[in-house]
């Protein structure tokens, strides 16, 4: 029930004003950041919190950051409760001491004051290109403990009276491989927080400190009410789904993720009990990140205009066993937890698809691929090339999956090939669709992508790949088939190409090349129900081969006339039914 005392106009004005501030923070960040994950992939978020640490607005660039600020804010407040002063800047990146999710994600908090009264915090999360540690790029999947993964920043005050702490800068410069980028991104984060600071101060000036606080609390209640109203309209019940990661890079056995979705009235619970225990390799999920995954999935089936604040979280409960893959405990390694997150979100969407069969898609290709190539160029300069690769969406209940698109969980962009070739000692040899990889279905899943890297201006480099879906393709729904598995090729144009496993690290020599071949999206509905004209179109565009059209879709195409053989198609499809 809406709050009877709510000012129906003021709350909308406040929401617009707060969103504008969070967006301005995001613009500052993206226009001044230095590293690919932030500037091109938009792997960052901005937020405003009140003095108690409750989230009042979030400028979202990465869907999976929903809910990421409150756990870190809590740790900062716990450590510095009585020592928060104007001009301070706080930072942390640690999953066990700071509420973070993996070390490359550095959180920055700037306290905001009106004269001497703390009125809130401006905050950013940014994914940095490197954070030190044993493998460049900070995303290795074969770490075995958090200590190998880079610089751990416990909640720290990194600036006083507006002056950055030289000791912190020195320590970071000494520990990361590309300090100009990392420190440049920290500067961009602080600049963004300063925008948030002046924005919130202007609002406090206008509303008055106490009135602003009361209104923001009501804005949180309002988001909760909208969320509950949406939940109430969803069907009640319980739905289970499971999906698998290939392995952790050490052991062969797959890792099972299990999600049970329970919805009663206006509350929703996702229970991950039954999920496998945490693993040796660094793809484990800190619980806070598992929670963020759930929030992102639930938001995608709701009205997108619900304000991004604490109120959205309240009706949603997440349960997981400590020590399990989705709630790892110290000192479990987590560097490549993005891979874990892709399967957790797949799994939650799989459960949601049963609740909402007319809305949710078959499995997307969720960024299972991280490719890091790092070392020293022929000129002796250090370099770190870090990319996450995506294909597209799964087949939808009424349309094909979209080819060439980030996943719903991670709105990543790709790096322009020409930019990459100037900035890194690499040449990209191809970047294109892979035919016959989209999961067959009445509505086809997206075709997979391939991208090939050749080392050209460095003698050697570390190639570290975090891949998955080599054994379990992205699932189809309602009779649709799974997308084709991913695979790799080393030196595909040589006499002896080799096929490395999904997760590996090796030395790449000058002139050698590595090709990542991504999975395709899952299909939706039975392939024999697909309109033959759509199959023909796919064949004409070489997304589906003639053979695949015949075998998977039961569509016979006359390759000379490039037309569907209606009679033969009818016969094939009838025979299959019988």
């Amino acid at each position: 029930m809406p709050n009877a005392n709510r000012d129906p106009i003021k709350i909308e004005l406040l929401k617009n004003a707060l969103t504008a501030i969070a967006d301005e923070m995001a613009v500052t960040m993206v226009r001044t950041a230095r590293s690919l994950p932030i500037k091109e992939a938009l792997d960052f978020s901005t937020g405003l919190l009140n003095a108690d640490g409750a989230l009042i607005a979030q400028g979202l660039c990465l869907p999976l950051h929903m809910g990421s600020f409150p756990p870190t804010m809590k740790c900062i407040l716990a450590d510095y409760k009585d020592d928060i002063l104007p001009g301070d800047v706080f930072a942390t990146n640690d999953p066990y001491l700071g509420g973070g999710t993996h070390l490359p994600d550095i959180y920055i908090f700037v306290p905001i004051f009106m004269s001497d009264t703390l009125i809130g915090f401006a905050a950013t999360i940014g994914h940095h290109t490197d954070i030190g540690g044993r493998v460049a790029g900070g995303n290795a999947c074969d770490n075995t403990e958090i200590y190998q993964e880079g610089v751990r920043i416990p909640p720290l005050k990194i600036a006083k009276e507006g002056q950055l702490d030289e000791m912190f800068l020195k320590l970071m410069r000494a520990n990361v491989r590309v300090p100009q980028k990392v420190l440049g991104d920290i500067m961009a984060s602080i600049a963004a927080c300063r925008r948030g600071e002046s924005g919130l101060q202007a609002l406090a000036d206008r509303y008055g400190v106490a009135a602003l606080r009361a209104s923001t609390l009501d804005l949180i209640d309002y988001a909760e009410e909208l969320t509950r109203a949406e939940l109430l309209e969803l069907p009640d019940g319980q739905w289970e789904f499971e999906d698998f990661l290939d392995d952790d890079g050490f052991q062969e056995n797959p890792i099972r993720i299990s999600a049970t979705l329970m919805k009663t009235n206006d509350e929703l619970t996702v229970d991950f009990r039954g999920t496998d225990p945490q693993v040796k390799g660094s793809i484990n999920m800190p619980f806070s990140f598992t929670v963020s995954c759930v929030y992102a999935c639930i938001r995608s089936v709701m009205d997108p205009s619900i304000p991004n604040n604490e109120g959205f979280f309240r009706p949603i409960t997440v349960i997981a066993e400590p020590g399990s893959f989705v709630h790892c405990t110290h000192p479990a390694p987590v560097a490549a937890r993005g891979l874990g997150a892709s399967r957790v979100t797949d799994c939650v969407w799989g459960a949601l698809a049963q609740m909402l069969p007319d809305k949710v898609f078959a499995c997307c290709v969720q960024g299972d691929y991280g490719v890091t190539i790092a070392g020293y160029t022929d000129d002796g300069a250090p370099f770190v090339s870090l990319e996450f690769l995506f294909s597209g969406w799964g087949g939808r209940p009424d349309k094909d999956g979209i080819d060439g698109l980030s996943s719903l969980a991670v709105n990543y962009s790709n790096t322009p090939v020409e930019i990459l070739e100037v900035e890194q000692p690499l040449r990209i040899e191809r970047y294109q669709f892979r035919a016959d990889t989209g999961g067959a279905g009445k509505f086809r899943g997206a075709v997979g992508l391939e991208r090939e890297y050749r080392l050209v201006e460095a003698n050697e480099a570390v190639l570290q790949v975090r891949g998955d879906r080599h054994k379990f393709g992205p699932f189809g729904l309602n009779g649709g088939k799974a997308g084709a598995n991913a695979s790799h090729l080393l030196n595909p144009d040589s006499d002896s190409p080799s096929v490395p496993p999904g997760k590996f690290m090796m030395t790449l020599k000058k002139g050698e090349s590595f090709r990542a071949q991504l999975a395709g999206g899952g299909g939706w509905g039975h392939p024999f129900e697909r309109d033959p004209a759509s199959v023909l179109d796919d064949v004409l565009n070489e997304k589906v081969s003639l053979e695949c059209a015949l075998e998977e879709y039961g569509v016979a195409i006359d390759s000379v006339r490039m037309a569907v053989n209606e009679e033969e198609t009818m016969r094939l499809r009838k025979a299959a039914c019988a």
Partner: protein, 701 residues
């Protein structure tokens, strides 16, 4: 001498004509989407018949066209083939992978303008330094060309990897095509846009190829028809950058002329501002469905280097793209949101009043238009508040019914929320302002500019009603409303100059810049520009060339435009550039880099203008009597208008614009003219300046 501007929009075609005698004549007619030139020609024919346009005196014909944009949006362009580097045929379709709104399962990615079977890879490779790594494979080229010809493409785009660094292979293929298949329209990336980033360059080149035959036919047809009418003056066309070009250029590079209407308004605002000695302006154009803002600094509208056609409207989308077709050409940097007179007010499940993004459009339109609309729109709210005339708009051409507005606002908003009709209406007015403030901030505070340092320049059908209250909300004290605000974009056409923009990637650390090489690069561009302008009939003394560089800190993805100092040519030039960059970065984003960090140049840019000796100046406009204006019958000399709890309902004087004087009058005040209504709240004053603009001022406290 007479200048004529025609601005073709989606709904209306506005024609304005001004002569030396200082007469401004205006015609507003419905656009004709089947052939947009029909409306122009029938409008002009009538104006010739009425003696408003003289075929002998007309020297300048300036056109803002919608045909290019419309061709993309409705996907009615040519059948295009694309030739690209082998292994990269999908660059166009993959794009940047991004979608514009998070958590949106209903997203649809725009279909590529060239389907995959018409995208052909050829074996070849140039590296980022411009060295040929793999020679062009002619067998591949011939196979590709034959395939495309067999499929009857009308237009071919060529875009190879790293061609910005060395276009040799693109040139070879283009030469082959012009001999082998001269009937095919060509668009080659190194000519359209020699700039780094393969997707953006490919997309831009493909859009050029896609619209080129359509635009060329349209322009030729228009020229022919005008010629038959006796109008022989050369036509110039507004580009998205705000400069105009001759039609021959538009037929070659139509991609530069997409979105030319909105650019014209910003150019007009800048020109009027310069004339008044006001260099810092935020232009604000509000119509029935959208509102647009643009920052004008030092008299020049700010440019963006990239935008999207056909994307959704939303401020956030300036960051998150993916909804439309990407164009990397200089364009006036507009922030656009879906808020206008037709935006519908509603109550959400949390009991909160919301406005838009749904719009009542032209049909049924606002409830007060008496066309069966029952939803409360922004225009209905403005009628309830007494801001808009309760009986008619557009000088009587549009009858309205205040009771219908009152009923819509009361029934759908007031009663459910327990508010009086006037408080509900004020809520709608204020909320739509708050979304438009976001558009104001997007062009100002986002880059460190305080809106308070700028003057709000308001036009468009709904702009003047909201100008003052919006300005107050954005802490802006001064507002200008020009004459004929409803057709101001067309007037902007008359205030534009011929202009070409050139860009060349020149990416290196500032310390590694060889100033001689930089000079040579500019020199080459200037030669091309000069030749083009001379070819267009300008004299050497009329050519104005301005040099700029795009600069940034290493690793950044967005650049800051820095003007090259006029005389320095030695190494001290680099220090000047570096200092200018640091300063602008700090102004825009609040900080400069840590000590000892380098700065780099990415692109060099040239703006080349052809200044006409007999160009039309704002003076002509400002002396113009408003011949077209039927004196507004002031049935009421005052009416009740509501200005919130502090003031309540006030008996507010209503002036026809022609009766407003140069001595300031304190609000509340409503000024009505043919195509717009200006609201002056109680805290502000209004007067008319020597140039016939209405100036509104809030007392600064």
């Amino acid at each position: 001498m007479q200048s004529i501007g025609f601005d073709v929009g989606g709904t209306f075609t506005d024609i304005v004509a001004v002569g030396n005698n200082g007469r401004l004549t205006v015609r507003k007619i419905l656009s004709t989407p089947v052939d947009y030139s029909d409306a122009i020609c029938s409008g002009l024919a009538e104006m010739i018949k009425n003696g408003q346009v003289s075929t002998q005196d007309a020297r300048h014909l300036v056109h803002a066209a919608t045909v290019a944009t419309n061709t993309v949006i409705t996907r009615t362009g040519a059948k295009v083939g694309l030739i690209t580097t082998d292994g990269f045929r999908d660059v166009l379709e993959i794009g940047r992978l991004r979608y514009p709104r998070l958590y949106n399962m209903a997203f649809e990615k725009p279909l590529p303008l060239v389907p995959r079977y018409l995208r052909m890879g050829v074996t070849e490779r140039v590296d980022y330094r411009g060295n040929v790594v793999t020679e062009l494979d002619w067998t591949n080229v011939k196979t590709a060309v034959n395939h495309l010809l067999e499929h009857n493409v009308e237009s071919i785009a060529i875009c190879l990897l790293n061609s910005y660094a060395n276009p040799i292979h693109e040139q070879l293929i283009a030469d082959y095509l012009s001999t082998f298949a001269p009937q095919i329209t060509l668009s080659v990336s190194y000519q359209v846009l020699p700039e780094i980033k393969e997707y953006e360059r490919t997309s831009t080149t493909v859009i050029n190829a896609y619209i080129k035959p359509v635009v060329a036919r349209y322009i030729s047809n228009l020229e022919k028809q005008l010629h038959e009418m006796g109008l022989d003056a050369p036509i110039t066309v507004m580009q998205s950058s705000g400069g105009t070009v001759r039609t021959a250029f538009v037929k070659e590079r139509p991609v530069y002329a997409i979105e030319s209407g909105p650019a014209a308004g910003a150019v007009g605002a800048a020109a009027v501002g310069r004339h008044l000695g006001i260099d810092n302006i935020i232009a604000f154009d509000m119509g029935g469905t959208t509102a647009k803002t643009c920052l004008i600094e030092n008299g020049i509208p700010r440019l963006a280097s990239e935008y999207e056609v056909g994307g959704e409207l939303n401020i956030g989308h300036r960051l998150l793209r993916g909804g439309g077709y990407v164009l990397r050409v200089p364009a006036i940097d507009l922030a656009e949101i879906g808020a206008g007179g037709g935006s519908i007010a509603w109550i959400d499940r949390g009991g909160v009043l919301r406005v838009g993004p749904q719009s009542a459009g032209a049909d049924p339109g606002p409830a007060c238009y008496q066309r069966g609309g029952t939803a409360a729109t922004v225009t209905d709210a403005n009628v309830v508040l007494g801001y808009l005339n309760p009986k008619y708009l557009v000088g009587g051409a549009l009858k309205i019914d205040r009771n219908l507005a009152l009923r819509a606002v009361s029934d759908t908003i007031g009663e459910p929320l327990g508010l009086s009709a006037e408080d509900a209406a004020l809520g709608i007015h204020t909320i739509v302002n708050s979304t438009m403030v976001r558009a104001v901030r997007a062009v100002s505070s986002e880059i460190g500019r305080d809106p308070g340092d700028f003057v709000l320049f308001a036009f468009g059908g709904s702009g003047p009603v909201h100008a003052a209250t919006l300005a107050r909300e954005a802490s802006m004290a001064n507002i200008i409303v020009p004459p004929s605000p409803g057709v101001f974009s067309a007037i902007g056409l008359l205030l534009s100059t011929v202009e070409h923009q050139y860009v060349q990637t020149f990416w290196r650390d500032l310390t590694k810049v060889d100033t001689e090489q930089l000079e040579n690069t500019f020199g080459g561009m200037e030669e091309e520009a000069t030749e083009t302008l001379l070819g267009e009939g300008f004299d050497k003394h009329q050519i104005q060339l301005d040099r700029f560089v795009d600069m940034r800190y290493p690793g950044q993805t967005s650049e800051i435009l820095v003007a090259m100092p006029g005389v320095q040519r030695d190494d001290s030039l680099l220090i000047t550039l570096e200092n200018a960059f640091h300063l602008e970065h700090e102004n825009s984003y609040g900080y400069r880099s840590l000590e000892g960090e380098s700065v780099e140049i990415v692109n060099v840019r040239l703006r080349a203008r052809g200044l006409s000796d007999e160009a039309f100046s704002p003076d002509d406009l400002f002396q113009a009597e408003q011949q077209h204006v039927k004196p507004v019958e002031t049935i009421h000399t005052s009416r009740n208008a509501y200005f919130g709890n502090d003031h309540g309902w006030l008996d507010t004087p209503v002036y026809p614009r022609t009766e407003l004087e140069s001595s300031p009058i304190t609000g509340p005040l409503i000024i009505e003219e043919y195509d717009a209504t200006i609201v002056v709240p109680p805290e502000a004053t209004a007067h008319v300046d020597a140039a016939n603009n209405v100036r509104i001022t809030f007392e600064t406290t």
